[in-house]
């Protein structure tokens, strides 16, 4: 990698100054931290800023994309790099369009456009799956992580297939020194290795005990690109598992970063990993099999960047949750855990983790929040693709909230879990849900993106913490 030495143009410098001013003004007005606004302003004034940012990263750029797990995986890679003594530059949580990446640059750059210690730094960016095809050639990543591809926000992306096709086209021109980190267990990801000159590093789970008893409904890659149907030796979630095509015979590739043994518990997981021949044990402080996949992807990316296995294990054991992803708050003598759920596969995994967290059938206390903003997905039909029926027959107390509380309440009712209350307003719903949760017990909040932002702010205020942009990691 060659660090850019060319000085930034006058236009770029003006854009940086105005972008930063926009961020400061937004924060002063208390408008959601202004995480994307500086990038929006600066990027509009000088479209070349993204390339300027990417070329300065002396140790290259890592991109993280996929339907579920982008924010957490980006967060984990950044944590591993810090433990390795490398200062990452990353975009603010969830701000994964071009403006979010430029915002990271605007916040970090000196007045002359230079980033401090740029030659020794790595850019770690989560990138929206629909935007990656356009940004990939401009970022020329050293490592590109692909997590999974599920149906998500079809009102925005159109069809799942078109996202995968966009990636395939983009990877034809990937450089030979780029490493693609691919989930071997998701056929629509694993099959990206065809027709690219880039290096490939696969990760996956090789523990049949982690399989599902039966297939979930939210399964998208039922068919191979040859047109044949996939068959599974084990399904871990959705269409993710040990797959093979019944027609052309293509099968799940060997995972070089392989989880040999997975033990899930309510609070976290313990995973024995084979890493290109070496063995490490990961103690993950986050619940759910999906968290295991995020950790494996981060492990693979760090391995591709040359981080030693022991550093990876230590950093993952100590990593706190990413913004709004299993964050915990202590409120009124209850523990409140915030879980982001924005598509069927994600919600299924959360429910699985909730059930695993109450093995003896202990009561589950939920606040379920459904919003229908652009960032949530305006089409709320996805709730019917989630297997909420999995919670029927358990002791579940659920308060439904959000702009589409009534739609969510109907879904829970049809799943056999009648809501205890339907309360659109966030603060009132939070009061209601806390009141229904006994002191000392845990309240789990399952929320779409903007609902998560709302409830998290309410919780942070009640727990005496600051707003998220005051402690956002860089």
């Amino acid at each position: 990698m060659v660090a850019a030495t060319a000085r930034s143009t006058v236009r770029e410098r003006a854009a940086l100054i105005l972008g930063r001013a926009a961020g400061t003004a937004a924060r002063r007005l208390g408008r959601g931290g202004g995480t994307a606004l500086p990038g929006l302003v600066a990027g509009a004034l000088a479209p070349s800023l993204l390339e300027r940012l990417a070329r300065q990263m002396g140790q290259g750029v890592v991109t993280v994309t996929g339907t579920n797990g982008k924010t957490t995986t980006t967060h984990l890679i950044a944590a591993i790099l810090r433990a390795h003594g490398v200062q990452p530059l990353t975009n603010p949580s969830g701000s994964n369009l071009e403006r979010g990446l430029v915002a990271a640059y605007v916040e970090d750059a000196e007045a002359d456009g230079r980033i401090a210690n740029a030659p020794s730094r790595v850019g770690v960016f989560e990138v929206d799956e629909a935007v990656l095809a356009r940004l990939f050639p401009r970022l020329t990543p050293r490592v590109a992580v692909f997590l999974n591809l599920f149906r998500d926000q079809l009102d925005r992306y159109g069809e799942v297939d078109s996202v995968g096709e966009g990636w395939g086209g983009m990877l034809v021109s990937a450089a030979p020194d780029c490493t693609l980190v691919l989930n071997a267990d998701d056929p629509s990801i694993a099959q990206l290795s065809a027709g690219t000159r880039a290096r490939v590093l696969t990760f996956g789970i090789d523990d049949p005990h982690a399989r599902l008893a039966q297939a979930e409904h939210a399964s998208d890659a039922r068919f191979c690109r040859c047109g044949g149907r996939f068959a599974y030796e084990a399904i871990y979630m959705g269409h993710v598992g040990i797959w093979r095509c019944t027609s052309c015979g293509e099968r799940r590739p060997l995972a070089r970063i392989s989880a040999r043994q997975v033990e899930l518990s309510p609070e976290g997981s313990r995973v024995d990993v084979d890493m290109d021949g070496a063995s490490i044990t990961l103690d993950l402080p986050m619940a759910g099999l999906y968290s295991v996949y995020n950790a494996l992807a981060a492990t693979a990316a760090a391995h591709a960047l040359g981080v030693p296995a022991s550093t990876i294990a230590r950093a993952l054991a100590e990593a706190g949750p990413a913004f709004g992803r299993q964050e915990r708050f202590e409120v009124d003598g209850r523990t409140v855990r915030v879980l982001l759920a924005k598509n069927p596969a994600g919600l299924n995994e959360l429910m699985r983790a909730l059930i695993a967290g109450s093995p003896e059938g202990e009561p589950i206390h939920l606040l379920a929040m459904l919003n229908d903003g652009v960032q949530d997905g305006q089409d709320v039909s996805w709730i019917y693709d989630a297997d909420i029926e999995a919670l029927a027959g358990r002791s579940v107390t659920v308060t439904c909230s959000g702009d589409r509380a009534d739609d969510f309440a109907l879904r829970w009712h049809l799943a056999g879990v009648d809501p205890a209350a339907v309360v659109p307003d966030t603060e009132v719903a939070l009061d209601d849900a806390l009141r229904r949760t006994p002191p000392g017990a845990r309240l789990d909040v399952v929320a779409t993106y903007t609902a998560m932002i709302d409830v998290r702010e309410a919780l942070a205020r009640r727990a005496g913490m600051g707003a998220y942009w005051e402690k956002a990691e860089r």
């Binding site: 047109g227 019917y384 509380a405 309440a409 109907l410 049809l414």
Partner: protein, 264 residues
Amino acid sequence: MTSATPERTIRVVTLYDDVMNVYADRGNLIAIEARAAEHGVGVDVLSVSLGDPLPEDADLVLIGGGQDREQRRVADELAARGPVLRAWAAAGTAMLAVCGGFQLFGRWYRDASGAELPGAGVFDVTTIAPGPGAARCIGDILASAEVDGVWEVVGFENHAGRTYLGPGGRPFARVEYGRGNNGEDGTEGAIFRNAIGTYLHGSLLPKNPALLDWLIVAALHHRYGEGSPRAQIEPRPAPYAERAHAASAAVARRRSPKFEPVVK
């Protein structure tokens, strides 16, 4: 839920539900099963996918939406089953064909690549998918159904294809907010006897309880005959569904364009 064994049952056939299910179409079956139970009607579900034989008869047929790739997979087989499905529809079998399934229940569908897929011909409609670059019809939709006692229907539409009614085609509904079949003539979906084709998902039936009851009654009529006491249901409230319907209707009125016909 009633625990007594129902003395009446409808047979529901789901077509290609492992292939054509892109917009949560399973919600329609979930709603039928739950609502039928409230009315004391048993539901016998038969899932028919690629290569499976069709049963002798069906009271209610469901087919959902799919992407172009999935539509290409089922089109030929579905077209070959056209004569049976048309005969069923003519004999009063209730049907609900949503989005891609609606397109394939028409005469033909020309996909974005220009390939023409044959349809089952239950509805006198044809569909043309405009090439890349043309906007998809995406958004909340509110329409008034041309079906007795159903009135307003709400849902979400997301389709590239533009559907046009032929001379023998009747619309299922008139668009009030949203785009409907083609964004030009204000028609939404198609209806033939008890068979309904529509672009509305959402899922459609959970939050349109009047339409849900209409389909259950149509299926009972087909099974037991219109005059039979076993084909009658009592009106029942559906409080969760009614509130979700009202909420969705408010969103469509606020967020979607009021339909204005295109003057050519």
